[in-house]
Amino acid sequence: MASSHVVTANATLDGAVVYLAPDRRWTRRFEESLVIEDATARDALLAWALGQEAHVCDPYVIEVAVGPEGLSSKSTRERLRAAGRAAVLERLGLARRGRASVSRVQRPRNQAVG
């Protein structure tokens, strides 16, 4: 069974994860990636991407699976990349909106008086 591939990179201006979409456009959304079945086409697109340094850094090719729930990556690393920046901040409790305020007046302090 032939494998499917996608070209990915980091955006030069802000380092965000990007994927090559149809029409040689770069997208930040994994689900918009151009899925490449043909090995020759894949190599040609990668070679083209390597020359796009004004837009992207260090492009490379990843293997993907196309399933009933859409596109997915095999490796943990690529799944984390595809989830994007907001997901990281959210999961680590660092998203600005949700962050606990500095003052903790609600937190009970243990003030046992002897």
């Binding site: 980091n10 030069t12 201006l13 802000d14 380092g15 965000a16 994860v17 340094e53 004004a54 850094c57 260090d58 095999k74 490796s75 943990t76 690393r77 984390l80 990349r81 994007g84 920046r85 990281v88 901040l89 999961r91 680590l92 409790g93 660092l94 600005r96 962050r99 606990a100 305020s101 500095v102 003052s103 903790r104 007046v105 937190r107 302090r109 243990n110 003030q111 046992a112 008086v113 002897g114």
Partner: protein
């Protein structure tokens, strides 16, 4: 602390402008990404999973409140409102945009800061004992020498393209709190039998793929020869270090391949020719730099102020817990060393919000002469707090979530950023830190686990220093799934030891339970309640712990 003069200010301003020009050339296509990469690395700018990452230098961990406020501002204006303190006493911003970095460097330059040589195959930040200048067991303050080494190594024209990075740590105390045995070069101020102070020089320590403890190549180097000797070591490394294989290019490999005696011989041969060069240090050179590190204007506090007000401690258990864990004795009567734990349950280890940074800057001004220090265990220190103000300070720290009473304990976890951020990582580390905390919190309350260090690295590069944790966790990739290897018995202090792998790697779901079982077994087996985990492990060996983790959980 060291105050810049016109030369220093010019250097950092020009550097910021130079990088601005390099960024423009990159964006215009005059230089390729491959040509740009070493240039941006020499300004501490990495490309990571989701964004660039800027590593700002904090020379030997010392910060002023003015600088910390600027870091808060940078976090707010150019980043996502927080920063991360590292195991080399630096700070990292995880989300800068490329075009903003020259502006960030300019802002840093305005407060005497920079990101020079925090990455790349060059001499990196010089790290030191975080209690330099205030520790009771100090022989001599290492900071003037750290500053001299910083100046000697900054833009050193011969040493900008070494085979690999080079990390230096310096200690001036009887106890080593700078982990010199696991650095490329470790320096220790020592007293000769005659009473004069010089340096013991260690070379070839390191963690990573092939961890090693450094070899001592000089017992007592006179201060005069510090820079010429260092230059000699670096020149031998630059000439003969391997360049054919990135994983065999550190100085420790050269020391091992040649053998420490032959390596030392080559350094001494080179040094014979450099020791009388312009690098020779005179007493007045040292004195001039040391003048930047004189003690702050301490109040003369009598012995009645030096007690910890016993009645107060007895009546307020939360305050007492904090004092017991986070506060240390100071060499100056009436003062204390206060550690700010950056290991609460709210944020990843070592992370601080911009609001917290501003608050800490104000606290430093009010309580500690406007100074603070970053430790290599990713915490902060207010080094000079009057004892009589501890309770007030504690309340303020508690308000901002920086009074967790756990420094030196299990939940004072050291963790690299791991796969959430880092391109080199094989596994996540921040989640693991959190899951272990959760499992172990209850046990800590029941049984008081005492001093135990837990270090987590997301890959073999060991930025979490897992080889020298009493409990070390290493993230690995097993067929695309994150797994974790458990190591026990590491230690970075004077009796430095590298940990031993306990058994087969476990999954992310299992690691919390595994660590908990190790600690429960420790509680069962400790000879007396205050025998430390490390001592118990050294006494009994891995056997009982291996059994505790794996006996009911056989791996295929």
């Amino acid at each position: 602390m060291y105050r810049y003069d016109e030369l220093d200010r010019t250097l950092v301003r020009e550097r910021a402008a130079q990088f601005g020009a390099q960024v423009e050339r990159r964006l215009e296509g005059d230089i390729t990404e491959n040509e740009f990469k070493p240039l941006r690395l020499q300004n501490g700018l990495y490309m990571q999973l989701h964004a660039y990452m800027l590593r700002v230098a904090v020379p030997y961990g010392l910060l002023s409140s003015v600088q910390l406020r600027k870091l808060a501002h940078i976090a707010r204006e150019y980043d996502e409102g927080y920063g991360h303190f590292t195991t080399r006493q630096n700070i990292q911003f995880n989300w800068p945009k490329l075009r903003d970095v020259p502006k960030i460097l300019e802002e840093l330059a305005s407060v005497e800061m920079h990101a020079i040589q925090t990455s790349g195959n060059c001499i990196r930040n010089i790290t030191a004992d975080p209690f330099a200048g205030v520790a009771r067991d100090e022989i001599e303050d290492p900071r003037p020498y750290c500053e001299l080494l910083r100046q000697w190594s900054t833009f050193h024209p011969e040493l900008a393209f070494l085979p690999r990075k080079l990390k230096i740590a310096v200690t001036g105390a009887r106890a080593d709190r700078a982990a010199i045995a696991v650095h490329d070069i470790g320096l220790r101020l020592v007293e000769s039998p005659g009473g004069d102070v010089g340096f013991a020089v260690l070379v070839g320590g390191g963690q990573g793929r092939t961890p090693a403890l450094a070899a001592r190549i000089r017992e007592h180097l006179p201060k005069r020869d510090l820079l010429s000797f260092m230059e000699s070591i670096l020149r031998v490394y630059n000439r003969f270090g391997r360049r054919d294989n990135k994983f065999k290019a550190r100085i420790k490999i050269l020391v091992q391949d040649l053998g420490p005696e032959r390596f030392a011989e080559m350094v001494e041969e080179e040094h014979a020719r450099t020791r009388d060069s312009a690098l020779a240090l005179e007493d007045e050179d040292i004195a001039r730099v040391a003048a930047h590190f004189t003690p702050p204007p301490y109040e003369r506090l009598g012995s009645s102020d030096t007690g910890f007000q016993g009645a107060m401690l007895r009546s307020d258990r939360a305050f007492a817990r904090w004092v017991a864990a986070d506060v240390l004795d100071h060499r100056q009567p009436g003062y204390a060393i206060v550690q700010l734990s950056l290991k609460s349950a709210d944020l990843p280890p070592g992370d601080v919000t911009a609001e917290q940074m501003d608050a800490v800057a104000a606290l430093a001004d009010r309580y500690s002469f406007g100074r603070l220090v970053v430790t290599h265990r990713q915490n902060l220190v207010l080094t000079d707090v009057p004892v009589r103000q501890l309770r007030e300070l504690w309340r303020e720290l508690d308000e901002i979530g920086l009074a967790t009473p756990n420094v030196g304990q299990l939940t004072d976890v050291v963790a690299c950023p791991g796969l959430d951020y880092c391109n080199l990582a094989n596994a996540r580390s921040i989640d693991v830190a959190a899951s272990i905390r959760e499992r172990v919190d209850a046990l800590e309350r029941e049984a008081s686990l005492g001093p135990v260090t837990l270090n987590i690295s997301g890959c073999v590069n060991a930025c979490g220093h897992h080889h020298v944790g009493n409990i070390g966790v290493l993230g690995i990739d097993k067929q695309g799934v994150e797994h974790y290897q458990l190591m026990l018995g590491g230690c970075s202090a004077d009796d430095a030891t590298l940990g031993n792998v306990l058994g087969a790697a476990v999954t992310g779901r299992e690691i919390g339970g595994a660590v908990e079982r190790v600690l429960r077994r420790y509680v069962e087996l400790r000879a007396f309640p205050t025998e430390t985990f490390l001592d118990t492990y050294r006494r009994l060996g891995p056997g009982p712990f291996k059994e505790a983790v794996y006996a009911d959980h056989p791996k295929p």
